[in-house]
């Protein structure tokens, strides 16, 4: 292991690293700009939200540096412990968490509120990488059932809050990592069969555990136009915001949907609609391209990682961010139900910002330690 550490690339940042950082900073900046535009007129009292977000960016950058600095293998070895701590935090949330709009998601921590469902994603990524990287996992019990049983409590605890979006994100990371590790067709077929058999029960359980507003959101996804003032309101206003941006957008502060508050949650879940209204199709495509660039760079790191731990860690990070981007934009543009998933790096939120930057730090960590075997 000491050999590996000695082989860490200490030459400083190369072009790839600069590009990687540049893309991340660009996306975060666009996010802060959009948050600024949304909250501009109302931030007469207190600390403006866009400045809070900038502060979180700074905090997240420190986490990023830490995540780059410590060898990911060390972190992977700590992952089970960290995951355990995460589960405990989730249980604390369930017992004593701060409730907001029917969901119990936050642990108050002085002036802040920490969201354990975000933070537990880091141990999840590390743990999955560590589990499959330690030794070859043969058979579907070792490949699927054991890690599944480990992941399940986290998934259920998040679903119980309820935080449908985060729990689905949890599941997505797990599934993509399993698929990447490789499924024997028999085992995979069993998963499908079991899923189909369990679906009615799971649906009943999941549907029943959802809050009424979440059920409404899913129902309204079926036909949002039918009730513009009612349940489909968020989705419809979001689509109006995006669509009315047209090719070139309405310009900064020019978004009427945003500025006149027709668009709810403009600084959090619907920040993409704010951006798309003000910067149009051109801006949206540029933003999408930035994300695509980030994923491609992430997958490039996975491809060139020197070991399974690194590859799976990189795939997990990319999946985590990509899932957020795809589901969030699908949701704001009316392709998916409004399940409440923030747009990674752009939506306002301290926990998510720190977690995402930590994960990206891990990604760069993997990249900077890949040269040891070359």
């Amino acid at each position: 292991m000491s050999l590996m550490n000695d082989n860490v690339n200490r030459r400083g940042l190369d072009t790839f690293d600069w590009c990687f950082l540049g893309v991340i900073m660009a996306i975060i900046s666009v996010g802060i700009l959009s948050i600024y535009s949304v909250t501009n007129p109302q931030s007469t009292t207190g600390f403006p939200i866009y400045l809070k977000q900038a502060t979180w960016m700074v905090v997240g950058s420190l986490a990023f540096l830490v995540a780059v600095g410590i060898d990911y293998h060390k972190l992977a070895r700590l992952s089970y412990l960290l995951y355990g701590i995460g589960l405990i935090l989730l249980i604390i949330v369930l017992i004593a968490g701060k409730t907001s709009r029917g969901s119990q998601r936050w642990i108050p921590l002085g002036p802040f509120a920490v969201q354990p469902s975000e933070f537990i994603k880091i141990p999840l990524l590390l743990m999955l990488a560590a589990y499959y990287g330690a030794t070859t996992r043969e058979g579907w019990v070792r490949r699927l059932i054991i890690p599944g049983l480990i992941v399940l409590p986290g998934f259920l605890l998040i679903l119980k809050q309820p935080d449908l979006g985060s729990s689905l994100g949890f599941l997505a990371i797990f599934l993509v990592v399993i698929l990447t590790v490789g499924m024997k067709s028999k085992a995979f077929g069993f998963v499908i069969l079991a899923a189909l058999m369990l679906f009615p029960f799971a649906w009943g359980g999941v549907w029943g555990s959802l809050h009424e507003y979440q059920q409404d959101r899913i129902l309204s996804f079926v036909d949002p136009n039918s009730d513009p003032g009612g349940k489909g309101y968020h989705g419809l206003q979001s689509r109006i915001a995006i669509g009315s941006g047209q090719l070139l957008g309405k310009g900064l502060y020019g978004g009427t949907q945003t500025q006149f508050k027709f668009l709810p949650e403009g600084h959090t879940d619907f920040v993409f609609a704010v951006f798309a209204e003000e910067w149009g199709f051109i801006g949206s495509i540029v933003l999408l391209s930035l994300y695509i660039l980030l994923f491609l760079m992430g997958l490039e790191i996975a491809l060139k990682a020197k070991d399974i731990v690194g590859t799976l860690l990189a795939v997990g990070v990319v999946t985590m961010i990509a899932f957020g981007v795809v589901v969030n934009i699908a949701m704001t543009s009316g392709l998916a139900p409004v399940v409440g998933i923030p747009l990674p790096l752009m939506s306002y939120g301290g926990s998510a910002m720190v977690v995402n930057l930590t994960a990206l730090g891990l990604l760069l960590n993997v990249k900077r330690r890949r040269l040891s075997l070359l």
């Binding site: 030794t135 070859t136 993509v176 698929l179 990447t180 590790v181 490789g182 003032g229 206003q237 689509r239 109006i240 915001a241 995006i242 669509g243 009315s244 941006g245 047209q246 090719l247 009427t256 949907q257 500025q259 006149f260 508050k261 027709f262 798309a276 149009g280 199709f281 949206s284 495509i285 999408l288 994300y291 695509i292 994923f295 491609l296 997958l299 996975a302 491809l303 990682a305 070991d307 399974i308 590859t311 799976l312 795939v315 990319v318 999946t319 990509a322 981007v325 795809v326 934009i329 699908a330 543009s333 009316g334 392709l335």
Partner: protein, 610 residues
Amino acid sequence: MLDTSRQANELADIQNRLIFVKIGFLMLLVLLGLRLWQLQVRDGLHYQELARDNRTRSIVLEPARGLLYDRNGELLANNIPSFQLYVSLEDIQDREALLAQLPHYVDIDPQEISNKLSIKSRRGRVKIKADISLKEAALIESHRLELPGVVIQPEYQRHYPLNTYASHVLGYVGEISESQLKDPEFSHLQGGRIIGQNGVERTFDEYLLGETGEEVIEVDALGYPKRSLSVRRPLAGDDLYLTLDIRLQRLAEDLLGQEAGAIVALDPWNGDVLALASKPGFNPNDVSGGISAKDWQRFLKDTRHPLTNRAIQGQYPPGSVFKIIMAAALLETQTLSAQEMVPCHGTFPFGRRVFRDWKAGGHGQVDLTKAIAESCDVYFYKAGNQLGIDPIATYARQFGLGEKTGIALPSERSGLVPSSEWKKRVKREPWYPGETISISIGQGFLTVTPIQMAKVASIVATNGRVVQPRLLKASRLRRTGTLKEKPEPPIQQLAISPQTFAHIKEGLAAVVTKGTAKLAQSEFVSIAGKTGTAQVVALKPDGDKDKNKEPQKEFRDHAWFVAFAPVEHPKIAVAVLVEHMGHGGSASAPLAKTLIEAYMGFETTQEPSL
């Protein structure tokens, strides 16, 4: 090392599979890109419109309604600023909460709000209450955050400075009703507009209405206005000068006092309506300010019918006033000459029946002048019997009875001139000659309106000129400020000889000087007129009237007096009807006299009392 190589193989496997992850993500992101193209480029204009609808509200700017003046420029109706309470339907967030809260701040029945909000549309504004008080407006303003969608708009409210005076002529305004909106007549108007609902407000609505303006404002999600996007100024309606002389109008209404009745005064030469009074009246300010359903019911159920314009809608038997037309008919048909003497012994036997004169014992030998002056019934029974119903009907129609005068007021009634043809058609019975006897003294099926009687007086005064009574003298176009006099109406000349009119006038003058209306005699001006008593209980030929017994008021007869003055060069024609006041000579004639004296410029010395 074996383990390491196995690991290396597995790593290669895993990394080979990454291409599927990459393709998967890229496909999803391309899908998102396509979706964005669809929303922003392909359907961008559509969403642009939705966004604009979201944030803009169109507000109708009510134009100032045209003002109403009398012939001398005295103000009859104007507009005063007031607060109107609206609800903007798009911006209601919680209907139930709104219904529960609003009555705390405004004096209004929750059911009424509910009714007004129950229209199908989800867009636009609904007026909840007109003319709210300053206190109500302040209360709502201070609770605005709890009442999204509630808007207070300052607007002009119709105001009638003279209150009850001329109420039936002026009419009132009100919000266009649901049924009116379905009427093609109002198809160019939008809901919520204030239109004339009665009187000249109704008939001249097209002049008074003006054109609405529109303001498009930008609002936020709570419906609060942010800025004005465009304004089209409303165009005020035209001001109208009515033919009314408001001093005469006031006097006429004051003369009627608490009694039910009507007074109509015309300029006989051009048909100008100088006064058109109907009592009891109402205060159009009460009705125009958005009357509550309860008050409206109270109005409609009032047994004295204050909303009825008796001057044009009241149909009464003309009584002896009809003898004017009988005189014209019998002279023109040469049934009788003016000088021919007819004996009157107080009764007129007809078949097995006996028709009585109002004066027991009779009038002795009467010629036409005396017959008119003393209102001898027997003279006209005989004349009528010789004439027959159909010639009588013909002359009655020539004098404008049985048809609307065409005055510019809604819901005028035509009265009824019966004929043998009418009896057959409507009653499916032949005309009995005995019925002609009743018609001869203005009873029976025959009914007239006070304005028709004023027109009869005009025709006699001008020796046969027939003019349509008119109310509109001039209009001032708000846009240009030019005053436009209305042309005088066309005049029709009756084919009745001047000699006939001379005889009639001689009789009518004698009515005042020595006949049944000596109370109408003026020391300043010569007045000619005719009294009448419209029977409320049908005339019974053999009826044994108990003269000593005063009947209950609602069964007492209506008192008519129809007059013009001065006799030589008439300037004013008047019809007075007072309900249930008995004889025209005592009840109505003094009123006509006072009115005529006032019009001729003489202040009356004696307060008439009813």
